[in-house]
Amino acid sequence: MFKTETKTPQQVLATQADRQVATARFHPNGELLVTGGYDGSLRRWRIEKEALTETEPIAGHNGWIERIVFHPDSATDILVSSDSWGRLMVCHPSAENSESGQRLWKHDTAHDGRIHSLTLSADGEQIITAGQDRYVRVWETKTGKRIHDLNDHDSEVMAAAMHPHGKSVVAGDVLGVVKEWDLQSRKCVRDLDLSRMHFYDRDQDVAGLKHLRFLDDGATLVAAGMDPKRTGNVNGIPSLHFLDWKTGAIRESLVVGDNATGFVFDFERLDDGSFLIVTSGTPGNGRVLWRHPDEDEFRFEFKKLSNCHALAMHPDRHRFFVSATNRNSQGNGAVRDKETGAYLGNTSPLHLFELPEEQVQ
């Protein structure tokens, strides 16, 4: 199903979430899409024939769910999720029951406040979290046992990841200071400079860093987000910076837009080294981008969606999912339902795209 013969990605499905979606990931079995957003629930969408069908959500979170991640082994059926009130939770997302029966464990105060970053080790056995309380923590996935507690950052930690060799964790903060932690000694062994992803003006620190991720078996560290240029009505240059892990220096930067394009909110590298990227800028700007670092032109630049926040790659590496925000989502007035007069919030259109067959061989 959904196979196309075209040269560019095609939008094959569109549906609507009635609340804004901040993150989305596919189950490794390819049958379930889970989204997390501003409503504090993990919403489950089954891909059936040519439709996304929503099933019962998973309860248990508060505030915003901004990060979710699946264990890479589909047989374990493990989903890790975090929220903005500091809760970390592990559950079996395929379970029919949405109550606590499907939950493996949870920590209500894994962090004091917003968890900005949630990633897994390469084998999925450890969880790395970081957040508002300036802590970086490592947990055992199956038991919830806290293994490491790392705290030397001077500002909120926005992104963290474990090196594929499993011996060190890297974490970047609001100020663009990236620290490498040696897990055996639990000491910070070096600082890397991503200060270009921090901007300070008029008493506001703007954090440009959204994600840290290792590529090439750990030889490259990618930092994604924005090089901010302005506070308040924040804008800047959306970028992916590729750091050489050995030297810690930025080897190359991939600029994917201008000041209006906004943050790189999510991205995925395809097998041929190209990147799928979603951005969200202001006002109402958002892009779905496909770009290879060695090529001058975008392979695909889709401007019809507004404020894209999540990108989830299907395990078949052929389809990907994008969450956007409804058009005209910004403005000063009160948008009200014509019939009830109720004040309306924004929603998230959900889009499934399909890559052209030859591009993913």
């Binding site: 003006d201 008029r202 703007v206 308040g232 804008n235 906004g262 004040y343």
Partner: protein, 427 residues
């Protein structure tokens, strides 16, 4: 790129230099703006002072004074209990939460204007009826109504990031003399201190010569013109005697740490020192609160700076016994939309927002009004800024129903004449 609803000019204020501004507005000085004499004499006896913390651009009420955690529009942050049972603030305000019993909130502000350019003026002028004249900003109005204190320091000092100078346009019809004496980046005007190459005797002789020319000028021009020119020089001379206010060596490390080594922290600390030195009205300004994008990270960065500076200020005023006669108000031109936009920001929202105040007869620990469960509307009575002007004038000892401005021969109410003070806020 500016937000489509906000033009660049909306975010800037005039930074005309002191003398240039005076020269440019000299024609307006003849209008007068005198208080009715019977009241003026009475008001001179007052020693009340006022400090306004102005968060330009609009702080989110939902990430500060009126959190709605766990609701559709509540955002990512939790709320925390305060020293006032049953009252919660955003978790971004932990210090102020411990001092909630010292100050008061109005959570039911509804004002008219969603634009920065006109909204700032309407709020800072108390949004009186349109009477075909330009009303003064609050600082200028208080400077006129209460006059300078015995210190001789300028009655209205504006501590702000960026440029300084004498900002006469704040005075409206009162005339340039009642404008804001702006200390750009908290620094005194340049060349305030007498050069070493000029002797005291030479300086005195030069001033005597200037005064002679001023007297000659005054004979041929309307009195307010020369008054305003002389005023600026007098203010400069008084400030020269208080140069220690700007000497960072006189600041303790403890105070710097308590207030925070940020612009807002430094400027609030200077504000406290200016109040202690005898300035009648101090406005401490923070720019950049117009968070159409990335609102929540922005507030996570900004609100703790307000929390730190303001809590230190409240402690100090209380410790020094100044809270009985210094009114502190924290506000902006509006709040921010409950709806979270696609850029994870909040837009402009005058419909239901909050402000805070303390001291000078304001009943501490009072929370006025409320919004509905998800913060989209006010439940019960709502208040316009005019009611707050009535309240604040009462607090500093002015009865706005009997006190009037005089614009030449035209009497004008000092606050919206169809509004009343919020009695529950007054002791």
């Amino acid at each position: 790129m500016p937000h489509p609803r906000c033009q660049i000019a909306d975010h800037t204020l005039s930074r005309r230099r002191m003398l240039g501004a005076l020269a440019g507005t000299a024609g307006g000085l003849a209008c007068g703006g005198l208080l009715q004499p019977t009241f003026a004499k009475e008001l001179q006896k007052s020693d009340k002072q006022m400090l306004l913390v102005w968060l330009d651009g609009g702080m989110s009420q939902l990430e500060s004074w009126d959190p709605k955690p766990g609701t559709q529009f509540g955002g990512p942050y939790r709320s925390i209990p305060t020293s006032l049972p049953g009252v919660h603030l955003s978790e971004l305000m932990p210090r102020l939460a411990k001092q909630m019993h010292r100050f008061s909130l109005v959570r039911s502000m509804r004002t008219e204007d969603p634009n920065h350019s006109s909204g700032v003026g309407k709020i800072l002028r108390g949004h009186p009826k349109n009477r075909g004249v330009e009303y003064p900003f609050m600082g200028s109005a208080v400077a006129k109504l209460l006059g300078p204190t015995k210190s001789g320091l300028p009655p209205y000092v504006w501590v702000k990031p960026g440029n300084g100078g004498f900002i006469s346009k704040h005075a409206g019809f009162l005339g340039a003399k009642y404008g804001a004496f702006a200390l750009g980046n908290g620094k005194p005007p340049k060349n305030l201190v007498r050069l070493d190459s000029i002797t005291v005797e030479d300086d005195l002789a030069r001033n005597a010569l200037r005064e002679k020319f001023n007297r000659r000028y005054a004979k041929r021009h309307p009195p307010n013109n020369s008054e305003a020119h002389s005023y600026v020089y007098d203010v400069a001379q008084t400030l020269m005697k208080h140069s220690d206010l700007f000497d960072e060596a006189t600041l303790s490390d403890r105070d710097r740490d308590r207030y925070g080594r940020t612009d807002l922290g430094k400027h609030t600390l200077l504000g406290r020192r200016l109040i202690e030195a005898g300035v009648r009205f101090v406005q401490v300004q923070s720019y950049g609160w117009d968070t159409h994008g990335d609102n929540f990270n922005a507030h996570a960065s900004r609100v703790p700076k307000v929390d730190q500076a303001l809590s230190a200020l409240l402690e100090d005023l209380d410790e020094r016994g100044l809270s009985e006669r210094v009114l502190v108000v924290v506000m902006c031109e509006f709040g921010r939309t409950p709806r979270i936009n696609g850029s994870v920001g909040r837009d402009h929202w005058p419909n239901a927002w909050s402000l805070a105040m303390t001291g000078c007869g304001i009943r501490p620990g009072t929370v006025i009004g409320e919004t509905n469960a998800d913060g989209t509307d006010i439940v019960g009575e709502r208040y316009d800024i005019g009611a707050l002007f009535h309240t604040w004038y009462h607090a500093i000892g002015i009865d706005p129903t009997t006190t009037e401005f005089m614009n030449g021969t035209q009497p004008l109410p000092i606050a919206h004449d169809e509004m009343q003070p919020i009695r529950e806020l007054l002791s």
